[in-house]
């Protein structure tokens, strides 16, 4: 099965034009370009529209039809803004911060399979790599917060680092549960293992009666890792003005924003790959209605994973615009005293299930 899938991408990767490996470039670039586009326009635009509809408003309306060009205008404007590096800032850290943040958030996309063919690098430790590389963001955030030489930014950075580092533990254990079910760390393998004619039945979430526990734990932890409400204390607007990016202007600010939406999609994609079958169609084959077969293929794969990602992003937005924010100590309490123990419990239970029951 593996081989048959790869023939398609192999054929593409062997495509050379004028001696340049155009095929490889397409394979690597399509997801990234898509994500950049997504993160730039539809993520921000979607968030603004969804929040607006939740709040009895219309949201962006005047810039393009239904405000569809709003984000484009924002980015173009941010490009034109004066780039201020304040005098007392640590210039090196201040400049490098957003870069590290951006790189950390987007490097993880390399191992994200967008379909049977679209994958930047099918590493055999793909999942491990994704978790590890996202942690690089912490460095960027700390550099940005410290380099700004602003007390609010410093608070935001310290909070953020404490939060991300702490929540990585329950998140990693929850993901480990998934890895245990799959017996692999390769992202593409995850998808292949969850393939089958009965659609969603083959997803890990429904393959194991305890799988919902690591699923929920990972979802909550991922909210905290991406600094989304109710865990948005690092950029808590009412407390810390704008958190670690208080001092950033123009394009640097846009880059931070972009990285944030990028990692939002990243965690949504990881959760859908590990627990919800990634690019596999959730529709089952029912007798003559071969829904699963009809909705499987390279393009369908990209469609499904993007849809699953959007679904989780929608839930993230829904929570964000509904819930108030937790306090710092409550956040840590939740992480260390609730999520981590439960993650361990889930780990043991799944191990028992995998060894003795299955």
């Amino acid at each position: 099965m593996n081989a048959s899938l790869n023939t398609w991408s192999d054929a593409l990767s062997e495509l050379y034009l004028f001696g340049l490996p155009i095929g490889l470039v397409i394979i690597a670039a399509v997801p990234l370009v898509f994500i950049a586009l997504y993160a730039l326009t539809y993520g921000v635009y979607g968030e603004r529209k969804i929040s607006a509809f939740m709040q009895d408003r219309l949201g962006p309306m005047e810039v393009g039809k239904w405000g569809i060009l709003q984000t484009l205008a924002d980015i173009l404007k941010l490009l034109q803004k004066e780039d201020i590096v304040n005098k007392s800032a640590d210039k090196f850290l201040f400049v490098i911060g957003p870069g590290v943040l951006f790189v950390g958030s987007f490097l993880a996309f390399a191992v994200l399979p967008f379909g049977p063919a679209f994958i930047g690098a099918d590493l055999n430790v793909g999942l491990f790599y994704a978790i590890g590389i996202v942690a690089l963001e912490v460095v960027g955030i700390l550099a940005a917060g410290w380099g700004s030489n602003n007390k609010w930014a410093l608070y935001g950075a310290i909070r953020s680092v404490a939060q991300i580092v702490s929540y990585e533990i329950p998140a990693a254990i929850a993901i480990l549960c998934g890895a245990m079910m799959a017996g692999t760390l390769s992202m593409q393998q995850f998808n292949l293992l969850q393939q089958g004619e009965y659609g969603f039945i083959h997803f890990f979430l429904f393959q194991n009666p305890i799988a919902w526990l690591p699923f929920i734990i990972y979802f909550i932890a991922s909210l905290a890792e991406t600094n989304r409400a109710p865990f948005d204390i690092p950029e808590a607007e009412s407390e810390l003005v704008a958190g670690y990016f208080t001092e950033y202007t123009g394009m640097k600010f846009a880059v931070i924003f972009l990285a944030e939406y990028g990692s939002m999609f990243m965690v949504s994609a990881i959760i859908s790959i590990v627990f919800l079958g990634g690019w596999n169609s959730p529709l089952p084959n029912i007798g003559p209605l071969a829904l699963n077969d009809w909705t499987t293929g390279p393009v369908w794969g990209a469609f499904w994973i993007v849809m699953k990602g959007f679904f989780f992003i929608f839930i993230q937005m829904w929570l964000r615009w509904t819930l108030p924010r937790l306090r710092v100590d409550q956040l840590m309490h939740l992480c260390w005293k609730v999520l981590t123990p439960f993650a361990f419990v889930a780990f043991v239970l799944i191990a028992v299930w995998e060894i003795y029951v299955k």
Binding site: P230, W321, R325, D329, Q330
Partner: protein, 400 residues
């Protein structure tokens, strides 16, 4: 004299309560940092400035600095004649202009010793209760925003707009009405006011419930506010707190009952005091609950007033306004229940001029805010934000 000093210092202190209070470990060598919060900060509700001494996230001390919106109300009051003071009074607590006007007119009318027509009293109570709801909506909305919930804020503003429409229809202005005048009101209620107001009351009741669901029934909201900013009743009285703040501390005290001004003694309402089931008496949540309860109470009062109000054809609400407002020499302290507490006016008249000799506004927020320093001792920064929000300050009134 020694005894005297002792007795003074034995006056009460606030002790922070709550099981998960953060304790600063003494062995940790940590540096204090001075953090300047405001005057431009999203959660200071205007231009308040707090100078916080912080140790990490813990605020060791927060010193409020006022005066960034000092608009010299008292000077203006001495420079213009009595009716001319009313617009300036409007601009003091700009969220509850009607209530401000009401308090000022009560003070001056006390000095003038004039009879107010009954219908005027009803109109005054209706508009000021409507304005109280509007003001509490802003208070609750901004409190939600302080705690990170953005949507309730917009819901509050959406519903507030209906009240503003009603009041605009009555007075011609959206926010600063200049409607309640000394001895009367500017216009009679418009035709059909009763119907539309009842429609609003009917519309608003479920909306208030929805707001309750979003905030008071939300676990995170309760966690953020319960047991935060505890103020025992004794201390609250010593600090001169009033209004929802004092009632939040469990003191059964409402000027509408105590002073029984206007037609309030004829109306059937209870003083809102939290029952202590869902909140600790005296914490931020109690104060929030009092405001939420008061909104519903105000709806009841408006309904009652609309029911009881005498209908008069061709009623002239300005009939009782004296031709020339020149009170006889004397001093008066008149007060009324503002959404934020007791709003009092100390007015001194020399009996000769048409201008007050001295007009001091006892602003409720100013007094309520004075406890900030003590409330903030040893709190976390997020709690500090929660406390400021629960005090519900309007800087226009604090600084005047």
């Amino acid at each position: 004299m020694q005894e005297l000093e002792k007795a003074e210092y034995s006056s009460v202190r606030v002790t922070p309560k709550g099981e998960d209070r953060v304790i600063i470990e003494k062995d940790l060598s940590s540096e204090e940092m001075i953090l300047n919060m405001g005057p431009q900060h999203p959660s200071t509700h205007g231009v308040l400035r707090l100078e916080c001494k912080t140790d990490g996230e813990v605020v060791i001390e927060a010193e409020p600095y006022l005066g960034y919106l000092h608009r010299c109300f008292e000077k203006h009051a001495e420079m213009v004649d009595y009716p001319g003071v009313v617009p300036f009074v409007d601009r003091m607590d700009y969220l509850a202009s009607m209530n401000n006007d009401f308090a000022f007119c009560i003070a001056v009318e006390k000095l003038l010793d004039i009879e107010i027509p009954r219908r005027v009293e009803f109109i005054r109570v209706i508009v000021s209760e409507l304005n109280r709801i509007a003001s509490h909506l802003v208070a609750i909305g901004t409190y939600a925003i302080d705690l990170g919930a953005f949507t309730p804020f917009l819901f509050c503003f959406r519903d507030r707009e209906h009240i503003l429409n009603l009041l605009e229809w009555t007075s011609g202005a959206r926010m600063l009405y200049n409607y309640i005048l000394i001895g009367g009101v500017a216009y009679d209620l418009p035709q059909g006011f009763k119907k539309r107001t009842l429609e609003f009351v009917k519309y608003f009741r479920p909306k208030a419930l929805e707001l309750q669901k979003l905030l008071t029934e939300n676990e995170i909201f309760v966690k953020r506010t319960k047991g935060i900013g505890m103020m025992p009743a004794e201390v609250a009285i010593n600090y001169g707190w009033s209004g929802p703040m004092l009632r939040g501390s469990g003191v059964d005290w409402d000027l509408r009952k105590e002073d029984a001004y206007s037609i309030y003694p004829e109306l059937d309402f209870k003083v809102c005091v939290p029952d202590g089931k869902s909140s600790d008496i005296g914490d931020s949540l109690s104060r929030h609950l009092v405001r939420a309860m008061e909104m519903e109470q105000s709806l009841d009062i408006v309904e009652q007033c609309l029911e009881m109000m005498p209908e008069e054809e061709g009623f002239d609400p300005k009939a009782a306004i004296p031709k020339r407002i020149r009170p006889k020499a004397g001093e008066v302290y008149g007060r009324a229940e503002n959404p934020r507490g007791e709003l009092g006016f100390y007015i001194q008249s020399d009996g000769k001029s048409t201008k007050p000799l001295r007009c001091k506004a006892r602003s409720s927020c100013f007094v309520n805010l004075s406890a900030m320093k003590e409330l903030s001792l040893g709190q976390l920064i997020p709690d500090l934000v929660a406390i400021i929000g629960s005090i519900d300050i309007v800087l226009g009134e604090v600084d005047r």
